[in-house]
């Protein structure tokens, strides 16, 4: 970002582009909020077997990420799972 861009106000065209990019990620993923909630609960269950996590602070979303192949951007499931305590140190090395 150049110095000039820093001072420039975001134009409505830029806003449109940003909003579209976000909405298309979820459109393309074809994932309803219900399904996201189910995925979230399953993740909590599985991880909880090995460590204590902060279920409230858990955040999952579908985003775009650069593909390692040459497919350009691909959707990715991003999960931020705060760990409270490593409950069973023997099971998770």
């Amino acid at each position: 970002m150049g110095l000039m861009d820093f001072f420039k106000k975001k134009t409505s065209g830029d806003i449109a582009k940003d909003r579209l990019k976000l909405v298309l990620v979820s459109d393309r993923a074809n994932c309803s909020p219900d399904i996201m909630e189910m995925i979230k609960n399953d993740i909590i269950q599985v991880i909880s077997k090995y460590m204590e996590i902060d279920a409230e602070g858990l955040d999952i979303q579908i985003t775009q990420t650069e593909s390692e192949g040459n497919n350009g951007n691909v959707p990715a499931l991003y999960a931020n799972i705060p760990i409270k305590d490593m409950k069973h140190p023997s099971t998770c090395k």
Binding site: G13, D14, R19, K21
Partner: protein
């Protein structure tokens, strides 16, 4: 070898019919044998945009149901001997035709024409499925607006899932004054988001309204939109044509004014 091209968009009112009329006429001007098929059963419009509405006797549904032969339903455009139109039925609905029947109808036309252009209805239901069933190639029309682009993205996904081999984008109704101010997404923004190849960009042009009023496609005429459509036709034939410079050229005086406006 004939090529079947569907012109589609998802959202209504972005210029599918105008594009079909102009691209079809443009290809006929380049000495290709072209037939335009209006697949929007119940809401036919391609005939009025082409100025052929007074010559309809039979329609697409009549051909499919065997009420007439294909030759009887095709309207030859007197202005271009290579150009024909198969009009849609106005008093029927989308369920009158199935995708299988469309494929059969198109295969019959392949023998006589170089290009078969299908004007697709808005939406993603039966009418869309009918229109894309026999298509080799798709032109997706969008405008630089969030709603049109979102729908175009959905359509591009569906075309891929239905194995239409080649999908290209037309960005219609660009207002370069607004793009310049940053109040409209530019061509790169749109191709960036939709991630398919661009085959043409059409500026918003009053001449389009005038030509539609008169029922005479403006492709090939001297206005910017006419040139842009002619270029699309050349690109469909596989020629490399540079994209038109749609930038508004401002005079020295205009530039001075802009500088003062900014400060």
């Amino acid at each position: 070898m004939s090529e079947v091209i569907v012109i589609t968009s998802g959202k209504g009112g972005v210029g599918k019919t105008t594009t079909t009329a102009n691209v079809g006429t443009g290809l006929a001007q380049l000495d290709k044998k072209v037939v335009l098929i209006d697949t929007d059963i119940g809401l036919r419009n391609l005939d009025v945009v082409m100025g052929l509405e007074n010559r309809i006797v039979y329609n697409l549904v009549d051909v499919v149901e065997g009420n007439c032969r294909m030759k009887q339903a095709l309207i030859k455009d007197k202005r271009y001997p290579n150009l024909s139109l198969l009009p849609s039925a106005q008093t029927r609905d989308k369920s009158a035709v199935s995708p299988e029947q469309m494929v059969k109808l198109i295969d019959e036309l392949r023998e006589d024409f170089d290009y078969i252009l299908l004007d697709c209805p808005a939406g993603i239901e039966q009418g869309f499925k009918n229109a894309i069933a026999g298509a080799d190639r798709a032109l997706v029309v969008t405008t630089p607006e969030v709603s049109a682009i979102r729908d175009a993205d959905r359509i591009i996904g569906l075309l891929g899932a239905n194995e239409v081999k080649r999908t290209e984008l037309i960005v219609n109704r660009l207002r370069m004054d607004m793009v310049k101010r940053g109040d409209m997404m530019n061509i790169n923004d749109v191709t960036d988001i939709l991630a398919i190849d661009l085959i043409g960009a059409i500026p918003d042009d009053e001449q389009i309204v005038i030509s539609t009023n008169q029922g005479e496609p403006l492709v090939g005429s001297d206005c910017l939109a006419g040139k842009a459509f002619a270029n699309i036709c050349h690109r469909i034939l596989g020629e490399e044509v540079p994209f038109l410079d749609l930038e508004i050229k401002s005079s020295v005086w205009g530039k001075l004014k802009e500088i003062f406006k900014k400060n």
